[in-house]
Each structure stands twice: as structure tokens, then as C-alpha cells.
Homo-oligomer: 614 residues x 2
């Protein structure tokens, strides 16, 4: 590995100077970038395997198209690290996912080259069609390029987008980055279908004909269009077959070898020349160029720091809320065969791997398809099963209507295990779990538990399974239980009273911060009552009454302020002071972010001092 390219990349005008490189220089650059990706993610965590897979593709896109005049939309932007490096963010790349550093996803306010925000899967076709349509309406002939993995194809939004894009008269190019992986192994029959395309001889033939035509035509233009059209028709006449994408009105190019720079660029040039909606199918290898990631890309999806030599990541912590949930659910399910577990492409992240291994017939990974997951649960529950859908707080947002209609109206009993509730940290504002409480409390017939320790999580999970009525959610944070205060768990509430007129209310892991605040204030002679809520919603009359009896009630929540639990108390109790989260939270270390939100022990103590009157 030479140092030749690092200074070069720093001196280049990016991305435009990339076009000056020859293919052998490109190859060297790609090796250099791969090393950077491995070095940086080993320190900062982040998405390694998906980024290693698209190094050549990203370079090809920036050489064939002209960002930011042409717009590049990355679906789930965690595959856009190379894009960031190649668009002027090399020097800041070591700050990725750190507070005040680069975001781990695409952000239009970070760079003019990030055409669209991307944190949740499957939105790129729709966004790109909006951009392409705006270009068309303004008379621009520029291109919009959407890059999405086959995992995104398990999300229904992609089909809504394709349905509208196929017949649009726009310069829209959809690159299917096919690595046969979404987050863990891809699921469903669409994945299988795409895999048949991956190896389809017919399209290899098309491609070869295209390549030959391209070899003879150095300039982009009509000859290429004719060549592409002719070759495709020829192949079609032989095969009498077409892809799903062609059925939907797209031109189709591929499959291309995603690690062959020349083949990739020729394919993209051909796509450009068509001047109509095109799907370009690119085969890539997730984790390409780093043996541990190539061998087990699932483990390298979204990772904390890891050792470069062994590639040992710490994604599945045995000591985490997710694992405790997963093991407890397994224990419950071993004795009750009505329990069915569902995940939307997060088997390992949610701790469901234990259940999946023991009860494969009752385990369902539905792909990145939260809407389907909820309605599927509703169908199961309507037949007497007890579905448990484990889902990250931020992704539950995708199933709001299904919660409302398919579960809530008929009070159909389903257990939601809302993982990554609250601040998640480095993944930033598209992934913080601060909206599930406003969301769930607006859905009638919903009960929400927010345990403050592993022990309480286990109790709450059992209560949720046993409730047999409506939506029962158990929400818990990312990571481990750090609570120092080992207490008797409860599924309802715990009041620590010393007869004070001042009450502090909290739930979940903030209880631990409140307990730390007690210690901080102890020396100052400040004492107050503490109400730890566990079943946070609906609110029993008993609790309204209890809370109403205090002079002042300080309510601390790891939740967006509008729609918070404190708001609900405020309509009955006249003494509430609500401290919740004011808006989107950028990426950073969880404890730093909690402090910024006024929810660290120190900040909680500050608030209590304000209201303490001896």
C-alpha cells in the first residue's frame, strides 16, 4: 500500500478530478480507500461490510456522473462512506459518527453532494423520482442516480416508487447493488427472484453485446442507444423473457461485476445514454477486501469498534437489554407454543437469535418490512397466537397505520418489544428512539412498559405476554443495564417517599440518573420524593392522585416533548414541570447527548435545586 494516493486525493478537486484517473490508478485508489474504511471503522464503529462492497461502484458513479449537478441518492446512507471520502470529506473522515464529526449517513446540510437524507431504508427511488421530476419540469437534462441494496427491496416503499418511476419520462437511473444481504441474510421471494437475475445468462449476453458496441463508440450518443436497443431486442427474441423491471417499464442493464471498474463504468455510460428510467443491476461482495467481513458480513453491519486483525466486532453483546429480552422470551416460549417471534431484518440486533435457533418454525424474519410485520402479527393474533414483534423504536414509526388499524381497533393482542428506545448515540438523528411514546400513546388500546433494569424488563415482558388485550409495548434502551441501584423490580411503579413536597418522576434508564442526582444533592441537604414509573401508559387514577398531591413535580423523560407522558399528566395535575427532548438529536456518545438534553445526573440535579424550597 503506497502513500501516493492520500496526498493526491487531498490535492485533487473532488469529485471532478476523479475523471482524470486511468483504470489502474482507480484500482490503487480503491485499495487505499478500503484501508481507510477498515482503519476508521475499527476505531469509530460504523458500517464496514456494506461500504467495502461499493468502493468501485462509488468511484464509477463519480466518474460517469457529475455531482452535484447530477444528483446521487443513497438508500440507507450508511453505504456512502466512500462517497463522503470522494466528495471532499477525506480530512474529516476520521471524525465519522463522533459528536460534531461527520454523520454516518447522508445529510444535505453536511455536503452539497448528499442530495437527500438517508437513514431509513427503501426511500431512495421515491426521493430520486421527485428530484428527477423537478429536473424535468425545469427543463434540465441532468441525471438522478439512486443506489439501493437488494435488502431495500424487501420494503414496500420501493415498489410504490418503482410503480411511479417506471413510466416517468425522466433521466432516472436506479442502481441495484446486489450483495444478497440486507442486514443479516436477505429474506423472501423477491430476494430469490433477484438472485436468479444475478446469474442470468441472457443478461450477461446483453451486457457483452453492449460492451462490444461501447468499445467501438468512444463518444456517448445515439450509436450507443441504438446498440443497446438492438442488442436487447436480439437477446429478447432468443429468450422470450424479461425482468420484473422491464415489466414495470424500465430499461435494464446488467448484471455487472461490481468490482470491475471498467465494466461498471461502461454499464453506467450505457444507462446514461438511454435517457429514460433504467435499472442497472450490479453484483457486489459485501465486505470485499477484508477477509473477516467477507466471511461474515452480517456481524459487520452496524458495529462498534473492533480489532482489525481478527475482525472481532461487539455487535451482539450478551450483556445487553436486547440479549436479556431474547433469552427471557425464549424461556417463556419454551412453555407456551402460542408465542411467535417476528423481526424486520434485525434478528441479531434485537436478540431474537436465541428464539430463532430453538423455534425456527415460530420465528419470522420478514425483511425490512415493518408494516407487514405488524399486520402479519395481527393476522396471527386473530387466530389466538401471541405474536411478539421486536423492533427498534425508530423503525416502529414505519408501521403507524398498521398499529392503528390492524391491531388497535379490534384490540388485537400483540406484544411490541421496542428496542433502542431513547438516545442511541452514534447513528444520529435518523436512529434516535425518541418518538415511540408520542406515537404509541396516540394509538388507542395501547399499554406501555418502560423497565429500568434487566430484572424489570423480564417482569414486564411476562406481564405484556400475559395481558391478552390490545397492543402491549415494552420499551428499553440500546446497550447494557448500568444501574447501580439494585432494587425490587415492579411492573407498575415505585415511590420513594420522605415526605417532601417536591416529587421527581422518571422511567426507564433515567431512574439511574435520578438516583445519581440524589447522591449529588445529598451533601447539600436536598432531599425529594422519587416516583419511578414502570407501566407508563395508560395512567391509572391512583397515579394522577398521587402526583397531584405534591407542590411541584419535575418530570424527566428520554422522549420527544410533544406527546410525552408528562403532557398527559399535565391535563389532570396542575404542578408538572416537564423536562423532555426538544427535537432531533444529532450523533454523539449517549451520555454526552443525555447531558445536552438536560438528562444527565448533573443537569437533573440542577433542575431540582431550582425547585427545592427546604
Amino acid at each position: 500500500m503506497s502513500d501516493f494516493f492520500i496526498p493526491d486525493l487531498k490535492k485533487m478537486r473532488l469529485p471532478q478530478d476523479l475523471k482524470k484517473l486511468d483504470f489502474s490508478q482507480c484500482q490503487l485508489l480503491c485499495s487505499e480507500i478500503r484501508q481507510m474504511l477498515i482503519d476508521t471503522t475499527s476505531k469509530n464503529g460504523g458500517h464496514l461490510a456494506s461500504n467495502l462492497g461499493v468502493v468501485e461502484l462509488t468511484l464509477a458513479i463519480h466518474r460517469v456522473f457529475e455531482s452535484p449537478k447530477d444528483k446521487i441518492v443513497w438508500d440507507v446512507g450508511h453505504q456512502a462512506y466512500t462517497h463522503k471520502i470522494l466528495t471532499g470529506r477525506l480530512e474529516r473522515f476520521s471524525t465519522i459518527r463522533k459528536e460534531n464529526g461527520l454523520s454516518g449517513f447522508c445529510r444535505p446540510d453536511e455536503s452539497v453532494h448528499d442530495a437527500f437524507i438517508s437513514g431509513h431504508s427503501s426511500n431512495s427511488v421515491s426521493a430520486a423520482l421527485g428530484i428527477a421530476t423537478a429536473m424535468k419540469l425545469s427543463g434540465s437534462k441532468r441525471y438522478t442516480v439512486a443506489v439501493l441494496g437488494d435488502g431495500a427491496f424487501t420494503g414496500g416503499l420501493v415498489y410504490e416508487g418503482l410503480n411511479n418511476a417506471g413510466k416517468s419520462d425522466t433521466n432516472l437511473i436506479i442502481i441495484l447493488n446486489h450483495n444478497e444481504m440486507s442486514i443479516s441474510k436477505n429474506v423472501g421471494s423477491i430476494a430469490k427472484y433477484l438472485s436468479t437475475l444475478r446469474t442470468k445468462e441472457s443478461y450477461h449476453k446483453t451486457k457483452n453485446v453492449v460492451e462490444k458496441a461501447l468499445d467501438k463508440t468512444p463518444l456517448v450518443g445515439k450509436p450507443i442507444i441504438r446498440a443497446v436497443k438492438a442488442s436487447k431486442k436480439a437477446v429478447k427474441n432468443v429468450m422470450l423473457n424479461s425482468t420484473m423491471f422491464e415489466d414495470l417499464g424500465f430499461a435494464f442493464i446488467g448484471p455487472l461485476d461490481g468490482h470491475d471498474q471498467e465494466e461498471l463504468e461502461k454499464g453506467l455510460i450505457a444507462a446514461k445514454a438511454l435517457c429514460k428510467p433504467v435499472v442497472v443491476h450490479v453484483n457486489t461482495v459485501k465486505g470485499k477486501g477484508y477477509a473477516p467481513a467477507e466471511e461474515n458480513p452480517g456481524e459487520f453491519h452496524g458495529i462498534g469498534s473492533f480489532e482489525i486483525a481478527t475482525g472481532n466486532p461487539d455487535v451482539v453483546l450478551p450483556d445487553s437489554y436486547s440479549s436479556v429480552f431474547g433469552k427471557e422470551l425464549l424461556d417463556i416460549a419454551n412453555k407456551d407454543d402460542r408465542i411467535v417471534a417476528v423481526t424486520a431484518a434485525m434478528k441479531y440486533g434485537t436478540g431474537l437469535q436465541y428464539f430463532a435457533k430453538a423455534h425456527p418454525d415460530r420465528f419470522f424474519d420478514v425483511g425490512i418490512a415493518e408494516e407487514h410485520a405488524v399486520t402479519f402479527c395481527a393476522g396471527l393474533a386473530s387466530m389466538g397466537m401471541i405474536p411478539v414483534f421486536a423492533v427498534y423504536s425508530t423503525f416502529l414509526q414505519r408501521a403507524y397505520d398498521q398499529l392503528m388499524h390492524d391491531l388497535s381497533i379490534c384490540r388485537t393482542h400483540t406484544v411490541l418489544c421496542v428496542d433502542r428506545a431513547g438516545i442511541v448515540g452514534e447513528d444520529g438523528e435518523t436512529h434516535q428512539g425518541i418518538f415511540d411514546i408520542p406515537l404509541l400513546t396516540s394509538v388507542p388500546n395501547t399499554t406501555i412498559y418502560s423497565p429500568s433494569s434487566y430484572k424489570e424488563l423480564k417482569l414486564c415482558l411476562r406481564a405484556a405476554v400475559a395481558s391478552r388485550d390490545g397492543i402491549t409495548a415494552v420499551r428499553y434502551p440500546k446497550g447494557r443495564d448500568n444501574s447501580l441501584y439494585d432494587e425490587k423490580p415492579d411492573t407498575n411503579y415505585t415511590l420513594k417517599s420522605s415526605g417532601s413536597r417536591l416529587l421527581v418522576v422518571c422511567y426507564g434508564r433515567l431512574y439511574d440518573n435520578v438516583m445519581k442526582a440524589i447522591e449529588l444533592l445529598h451533601n447539600e441537604g436536598i432531599s425529594f420524593d422519587v416516583l419511578k414509573l414502570v407501566k407508563i401508559f395508560p395512567i391509572e387514577d391512583e397515579l394522577y392522585k398521587l402526583v397531584s398531591e405534591y407542590d411541584n413535580v419535575l418530570f424527566f423523560e428520554e422522549c420527544y416533548r410533544f406527546g410525552s407522558i408528562a403532557e398527559k399528566y399535565s391535563t389532570v395535575c396542575r404542578n408538572i414541570h416537564s423536562y423532555a427532548i426538544n427535537g432531533f438529536i444529532k450523533h454523539g456518545a449517549p451520555n454526552d447527548l443525555l447531558d445536552e438534553c438536560g438528562l444527565s445526573p448533573e443537569k437533573i440535579a440542577d433542575r431540582i435545586r431550582e425547585y427545592y424550597h427546604g
Copy 2:
């Protein structure tokens, strides 16, 4: 038309005795049912054309399958009127959509034959897969049948369901009721693709072979399976082609003539015999048997009452909030070519037909695809366009995550025109618009206007278009502006003060009810101040201050109570008494329902009397 069948149907054990009819009796029964559908919907309103299209199909399903042991899931159950008639609800059929009468949609609590709730489109495959999976886990060999129109195929949830169902080892039968219409004319390339199937010779051939095989095999069983498999393979060898559904792992039967009883039943028997996931493609004619509806099915989608002779429906009222919105938007767009209008299959319902006619290049009907609609708007807006998405309140729920991620985080300016906000009446709990405020207030960077008259709607729409920041929503009710109190419109608020210590707060059409309450109370000598909010969120400090100055504040809202505007005020103001909607609202006349919710002039007056202290 003989009276022969009506008494018969009343005496029959339903649906099981339907199996005893011969095909000519079936035909007579279908005519009888059509007449009932026309008679009843002409009086009660409801969905006529879609129901007329599926009379034979519904009968065939109940003759071939055995409900409720086999489960029938109707996608958007407004096509299930015949199903209701044939499953013991004939005598109550004249009460459909009336208060305490039958629901216009399927409801499990109404009949054991309604296997799943259905109000919003595209959920049937997922729900049916849940049911079929539960059957499989419990060792049942029973069938689950999902019936969905081609319109439902514009919604992404269907693909999430198909992706999981195709490879499932379940007895799941998906009937594609293909009428080339969703609500108005169907859109998108998937519709076009399905239409190619509709007329595909290959499958007509398959069908003929199947029929011939069936003719020779009176009993269901292995011979049929062999025949179906053999015939299909034969045709395939000739055509070298397959459907999208076969690519996804389904068997495929069809297209069948949806008005040929015998052909339909043979196709369904063949589907049963396969014992694996099957798609059955049925061609139907929307409005079949009633000339005005056949000629213009779009107008007969969801209708009020109409004249039988002319078929004149009143779906598009020129005197309605929707029409006033549509005309005002056209006026704005005539002078600003950045304005783009988007609808999710509700061109006429939302009043966008004026815009569509004048600016077809800037009008987009995306199908029943609210998620795509929002993200598409975000893409357009990122390029400087001003997208206006007109959507019913209840359907906006489907795009929660897209509002949050694709619009809110980057404060991307898009105008949401939230039609059918508040009580909508006869369509019942799946269609009431009472959750948009909890939903939208939980999305940061959102402004909400709730005009109380046509004049105010126009002003608010202009303010929303001009704001150029974040999500700007204008919400307004179904139907016409009945306000008696013609006042100067405002986009912020209006305070009517007489120096009282009692304040009544309201917004939208409830302002009119409050004004009527003033009249009711006038003779009793009761007076109070009234604050009409127009920009209801976010709340300016000025308003918190104004409201705080009263002794008691009664807050009336046509909105679900948890997440209401009153809740937000309560965190700052200590004097709020909130009167909002407690939960789901069944179907009935809007004014009756408002009264039940405590929001009629009389009920509002009652509340005011409680708090009036001279």
C-alpha cells in the same frame, strides 16, 4: 326479477346452503343481489361499483370455501356487501353505514365471517398470511383467501406481504380482482403490467386446459393437481414466459371471467387443490349490471345517496372544503409554476381535478401510495419546487415515517392539505380523521392550520404555500362550510372578549358549534370569552400567556384526546379543561357523532354551564 330468492335467502342456512344451488339459480341470485345493492346504496350511500363487480366472485368463494372455518380476508372491505348479504346479514343490510347499523367495511365484531378488519387498502395479503401461518402452526389444513383489487397493488404493503407469502408453505389463496380501477382510474406501471396479464393468451390457454381437465374430474384431488401442473408446464414450454407472481413463488391461475360463475368456481377449486400459495387472477367489470356505474365507475366509488334512474351521485360537491381548496390551489398555481400537486388515488375526493386539468404536467396521482407521495414530495422540494400533497387525515397515518425522516429532519418545505379531518361519519372508525393532530404535533418542524370557514381555508393555504419552511399542514373537514357566523378570517387566532374569567377555546368547524352554544346560553345570561385558534401549532408564547390569564379554560377539539392541542397548553397553563375524543368512533351521521363525543352545541353549552360562575 322474481321475488323467489329473497324469501329463500332468508330461509337458507348461510353461507353453507349456497352450495346447493345450481348455476342457473346462482345467476338469478346474483341479479337479485345486484338489485339489493343498487336499492340500498341509492338510499344509504356507500360503495356501489366495486360491489357490483364482485357478486359472482363472492358467491363463488362462499360455494367453494367454507367460511368461517376457511377465512376470507377482504382488502378494503367496502367491496364486501355481497359477502355480508350471503353471511346472514341480509335482514340488516338496509341499515348499512347507518348509526347502530352494519358497518360499510368488514368487522370481526360484526360477524364471525369477517375474518379481519379492513378499512385501509393493501393489508390483506399480510393479514391473510398471518392467519394462514397460524393455521399451519396449529396443524389445520384450512384455507385463507385474500381478495384484493388491482388498486391495492399500488400500495407497497402488498409487496411486503407477497415477498413473505410466496415462499410460505401455507394454504393461502390470493384473488386478484382485476377491474383496472382503484378508486379513480388506476395508475402506474404495475397497473399496466397487470393489464397485460388480463389479456394474455397464454393464460387463457392454461385456463382452457384446466377447464377441460376439470370437466373430466368431478372430485377435487390429485388428478386436478396433476392436470393443472401439466397444463401449465405445457403452456410454459410454448411461451417461455411467466408472471411476476410465479417469479415470487406463487402458483398462478387465470385470468378467469369474473362474471362466469362456472369458470370462477372451477378456477377456485383448482386453486384449492394445489395446497400452496396461489394467485388467482379474476377479471371483473366495476359497476357490472348497472349502466351508469359501468360507464363511470370512478364517480360511484364512495358515494352519498343517488338517483337510481340517472345514477347521478353527489361525490364531487362544488360546495365543499375540498372543492374550495382545489380551486384556490389552481389559482395560486396559475401564478407560480413551482407548485406541484400530489394525490394518492383521490383526485376527485380531494378536489384536485381542477389543478389536474389545467396543469397535467405538474399533477401526480401516485396510486394508493401515501409513503411514496410524501417522499416524492420531499424529493421535489429538495429541488426548490413547492409540493402540495392533498390527503385524507386517516390515510396520512400511512406516511408517518416519511414525514419524520424525509421532510422533518431537513425542514423540507411541503404543504399537506389534510382533508376529511375530524368526524367523517358513515365510513366509520377506519376513516374518521381524529389522529392527524397527535401525529403531526409529534413530528418536529411542523405547522398546523385549522381554518373554520372557506375564507379562512383560502388564507391558510396561501400562508402554507408561502411559509417555505418545514411541513405546513392545513386541515379541514369533509363536506361543506355550514358556518352561520361570517367573520373576518385570520391565519393566527381571533379572541372574542367580554372580560369574562371563563374562556372557551376551539378551532376548525367546532367554532361554529361554540357560536351556537353562545346563542343557547345567551337567554340564561351566561357569557364567556371565545378564542378561535387558526394556526393551532406550534403555540406562540403570546397564546400561552393569553390563555393563562383566565380562571378556567374549556378546550373543545375534534381530535383524539391523547396528543391533542389542549395537552400541549396544559404543560404551561394550569387552567385547562380538555374535551376531546376518547377513542375510535363508529359510523353514523356526523352531527350525531359529534353529539356523542360531547362536541355538539348543546353538549358544549352543558360543559360551559358547569364552569360558569357569573
